[in-house]
Amino acid sequence: MSIKFDAIIVGAGPAGLTAAQRLASKGLKVLVVERGRKPGSKNVYGGRIYAHVLDKLYPEYVKEAPVERWVRKERISFLTEDSGTTIEFETNNVEHKSFTASLSDFTEWLGKKAEAAGAVIISESPVDSLVVKEGTVVGIRSGNDEVYGDVVISAEGINRLVLERSGLAPKLEPQMVGVGVKEVIKLGRKVINDRFNVDDDEGVAWAIAGFSTHYVPGGAFIYTNKDEITLGLVIYLGHGSKVDVPVYDMVEEFRLHPFINRLIKDGQLLEYSGHLTPIMGLNASPPSLYGNGYLVVGDAAGFLLHGGIIIRGVDFAIESGRVAADAIIKIHEEGGKYDGSSLSLYGNMLEESFVMKELRAFRNAHRALDEPRLYNDYAKFINAFLKRYFDVDGTPRKIFSTFKETKGNLTILDMMRDMTKVVTNL
């Protein structure tokens, strides 16, 4: 191929496709190179998308996007082998804040938007490396083909081989990422409505800690789509050596837990998937988010907010793709070159957007979330405490003595220390 593009984007995920749509709609010649058969065929997540970014960038999404259900109920559970404690939040306001969706469907939809704006998407083409000339990225290499562009955006997701191979990101370390495993289970719309106590278009987002990961740092999740639920878990790989059964058995034990199993009775497995996810936010970013001829967006840049209960990657991916495109458009219109100093505009614009504002605020979240006691001692304690407290048998159960009886190895000092960590970092 000898055509030269204004911009080449590696990866047709939410980040890359948003950048492509935006650039193409301003008349730039854009190529997106994707390794999968079509956009969406290699993407995996948990289950829900926060809609605030779509309101601004794709206002037509309410009618067009493949929304499954609007999240109306939030649940957080601490689970042990035989007990569970759940907090449920429900609101009657018909505010459309987040919805469940299949990431494959949603990504495919973003692909159509980018193509409609004029971007070219080439599928089935894993990019092997960047083409670098005199210290500047000038294109990409896939097999025997080289394609050239004025600027290259890495939107390749967290398993960022291209950046690593080009020496622009260090090798991923286990403590930077978690592995997610997920099952998609068909139940039918009415069954979901009944078992989760929701109406037709209302959904549940549920985070479950404790036994679900065998008390190893990480967490499990359940989301309701229209006709199926997604059920899975994430294990922080920095704690991978504490895992006592293979992760494929762990997700099954979670599914077979009596409290979960009754929810999926007569269900049918439709898909089993796995994917990495960054868990340290900006601490997992490459040393530089831009340089001569390139910039980095989405998961590849570490733009994921992992707040323990809430996991937000898609909205950060979309917003960073938008910011990258706007920076490029500005430089393009001024006829400038894409060197490290002009692309610092991208860095500055990121600081102005919620991407950096929120990620900086949660910069040390992983310090609190990396504490194994949160997933182990506390999950056990809260259940032991309530079990003892509610177990009325004629002996007096005052709160403080029940607390002392059930707190296990936790000391008051641990609790104060952990509480401080959670409150200051989350």
Partner: protein
């Protein structure tokens, strides 16, 4: 497939759409490292059971069923794995993601 029972991982992987390349995209480039590797994290952390114990402390690898997550390349402490994405769109085809 009823879900209220244990389902072998191979059977669960069968619910996916696949187009597996005959050419493996991942391989153990240095089997000696596996013999010396005590913890063998690949056996526990690969979601698709692509790594299984072999004889004399070795580990066998099969790329069929690989969901292309990248976990093995991150957790292998001995850099014993050569890791690539499948070529030309081969491999797992997620319909839900």
């Amino acid at each position: 497939m009823s879900m209220e029972r244990k389902i072998p991982i191979e059977e669960r992987l069968n619910s996916n759409a696949w187009d597996v390349d005959e050419r493996p995209h991942i391989r153990i480039k240095d089997p000696d490292q596996c013999r010396k590797c005590d913890s063998k994290p690949c056996l526990y952390l690969c979601p698709a059971r692509c790594y299984t114990p072999g004889s004399n402390g070795t580990v066998l690898f099969s790329h069929e069923g690989c969901v292309e997550c990248g976990t093995c390349r991150v957790v292998c402490p001995n850099d014993a794995i050569e890791w690539n994405y499948p070529r030309s769109g081969y491999g797992v085809q997620f319909r839900f993601g």
